[in-house]
Symmetry: C2
Subunit: 429 residues, 2 copies
């Protein structure tokens, strides 16, 4: 892990409010903020957990309710193209993750989609049983492997974990011909560390390993190149940087080269080559649609579909640049407050090694997070002692960073965050 002596880029410049105001005035993405409904007097640094609501999303929900469902009822499947939504939404996400058409579809939750690609990949690797991942991977990724192992038995599926570290040496050393599948999350949910997708995929392939990337904390936050990196499978989340609403459907990517050989066990009727023939034998759809299972969640998926239109004219390189700037300035500003020296940065400082969030260790991170929220700066807490701040470039302003760090400094310097009310635990933390 890094220490505070490693400054982020541009660390020579003193960060001032006028500088941040100037950055806002020059920001090519500044107008995007108006595409969202945001609460007053709030700096929202939790878009990596639940994205803000696009105005288009709310409008679409209204249409689905008042025009489609209530008025056209069952006819809407054809008239309003409900039946095409998994593909329509999938294609919009494809553009954000470097996937050519026909390889990505919207459906189910990230966890369920993980099970589909994990099972598919294991069935393609009959002589191997290991699924290699990192001990700090998002728990659901590890749990889905454990679930598959409980079903298949230890002789067909075993989870092997390597510990996190500042570099990928341990991980790379573990890539052996005993490994069937390498399962990684591109951006670590705790530390915000960004893995090298290109290099790790290439190294894995050299050993005959299939690779699954979880894009939960990267899709919509940075430019991803699934096809160029020769990725085999990927899954991702609709409700973080894609702003699809709470519990929005997830997505699954399967490289075209695998689609004819692959077979996934959650073979529901929507993945059939001819769902409305009601044939008693499953015959998988020829393309990515074979990864559908049950009836799509139309209301939620329509909202995600509309939310994605916010990205239609966004240059992902520009978005990435703003994301890195926001987090850089946040950290530099934090370093300008000597009172905040108990906050230890866990996120790598190198731009190539971090996603769109910062994570700080602090002995009283929970209370600090609650106090921040109470004072209009929404961050989140990850057990046991991490304060996590997400930077969603579509709706955050540079001046929000000033507001956030100033609030944080005041809470710490006055001791306000030590008041007992901030220690009360919520169900969801």
């Amino acid at each position: 892990m890094t220490t505070q002596s490693h400054l982020l880029k541009n660390s020579q410049t003193e960060i001032s409010l006028p500088l941040l105001q100037q950055l806002d005035s020059q920001d090519p993405l500044a107008a995007k903020r108006d595409a969202f409904v945001l609460p007053e007097n709030t700096v929202y640094l939790d878009g990596n957990s639940l994205g803000a609501m696009p105005k288009l999303a709310a409008e679409r929900a209204q249409q689905v309710l008042t025009q489609q469902w209530s008025q056209d009822l069952i006819k809407s499947w054809n008239r309003h193209h409900w039946i095409d939504l998994p593909v329509t939404v999938g294609e919009k996400i494809s553009h954000l993750v470097g996937a050519a058409s026909g390889q990505l579809i919207c459906c189910d939750s990230t966890s369920v989609n993980l099970f589909k690609v994990l099972s598919s990949a294991m069935l393609m690797q009959p002589g191997r049983k290991q699924v290699l991942s990192q001990a700090g991977n998002f728990p659901t990724d590890l749990y889905m492997v454990q679930g598959l192992a409980s079903l298949l038995g230890e002789q067909r599926c075993q989870l092997k974990l390597v510990d996190e570290s500042e570099n990928d040496e341990l991980l790379e050393q573990s890539l052996s011909e005993e490994v069937a599948v390498l399962l990684l999350t591109q951006v670590d949910f705790r530390s915000g560390r960004l893995l090298n997708m290109q290099r790790l995929t290439e190294l894995a392939h050299a050993k005959g390993i299939l690779v699954i990337w979880d894009l939960a904390h990267s899709a919509g936050a940075l430019a991803i190149e699934l096809d160029a990196c020769n990725v085999d499978f990927a899954v991702g989340c609709g409700y973080k940087y894609l702003n699809g609403g709470p519990g929005a459907p997830a997505f699954v990517y399967v490289a075209a080269r695998h689609q004819s050989a692959v077979s996934q066990p959650l073979s529901g009727w929507m993945g059939h080559s001819s769902p409305f023939s009601f044939d008693k034998n499953y015959q998988k759809a020829p393309g990515i649609s074979q990864f559908l299972t049950g009836t799509p969640a139309i209301l939620s998926m329509s909202v995600l579909d509309a939310a994605l239109d916010v990205f239609a004219d966004v240059d992902m390189a520009q978005l990435r640049q703003k994301s890195l700037q926001l987090s850089s300035y946040f950290h530099q500003l934090l370093l300008q407050h000597p009172g905040l020296n108990e906050l230890t940065l866990l996120t790598p400082v190198e731009p190539a090694e971090r996603g769109s969030q910062l994570a700080y260790q602090h002995p009283n991170a929970y209370a600090l997070c609650q106090a921040l929220i109470e004072h209009g700066v929404v961050a989140d807490f990850r057990a046991p002692d991490i304060l996590r701040l997400g930077f969603a470039p579509l709706y955050l302003r540079f001046t929000d960073i000033w507001q956030a760090v100033t609030t944080l400094a005041k809470l710490v310097e006055t001791g306000e965050y030590l008041k007992p009310q901030y220690a009360v635990k919520n169900k969801v933390t």
Copy 2:
């Protein structure tokens, strides 16, 4: 199958418009129609495919969008009890299906939930490999067994099908000690035939077989007694008679007696005993929550939650009575039109043997269905030659039956339905 010479109950009475008007005026459920938004000049006989929109559902969606998601953002998980929704909704459904508290939860799609309970049940039956079902079961039920078999191999999981018939003799004869799981849909999606849950469950148990009931076409349409029938597992659909909106989340029931021994392989983070500890080892939640997988679809689940409030004061025996009356009168009225004698009823006439729909075979059922829809009577078609009519007692009037049959008779008698525009196939039929 039955023939038209078997009349439904009360067949002696001539069905007239005044009689139906009188029934409406005496209907204890008549006021419920006002709880829904319905299109003008339409008789909607497809509530068994997609339920109509309750006003409460639209209001709740608005709240979730404009107050919760957009304003309270991530705080809504605690403040608006999003985290409790799977249980809250599950408990409301429990009341409709005869399940005591703590055994039913809302999540995912019916297909995905089927996979969970199928796998769970198979893991509880290590010496047996057969899953017994009916050849005419809804395809997704059969496909999920085929998917599990593809993963586990033929030596651990095999689908065995018996053909449909007028009685359950064949099915009952097939209940042997080689069968691990009996998987049945309570009401057949094509014919509308209702199986005897109590008897079949008891016979299966006598042979050591675990039983899974799919309630897709029965939950919300008739009184179900899961606990009293000693059912092991059940799944069901949120968007048919429960009116939860297109692709609403589904539900899963696991009898309390199995909850400590059972293990389900879609072990996502929401099913963990302590999801926010982010432990790397899966430890299942102690109760029904272990059947959760990924993050719940909050918008869709909130809408379903509100939709279920329409049932809060409904007497299910009264609802069932109205449902049977609606279908009885429909069929009797149809028999009063000699021009409709090409329509052959596939649904059993005995009330104890039918759900809340009627199915008619007709050589040109597709065109007939399209013409009906075009003339304001929404029915649906099931390949190859079935016209299917669903009777949702919460929003259908007895006079709607008059309107529907009169329209049908006119379309047939005039030959209108033979016009070429009604032969054009839609994607979803």
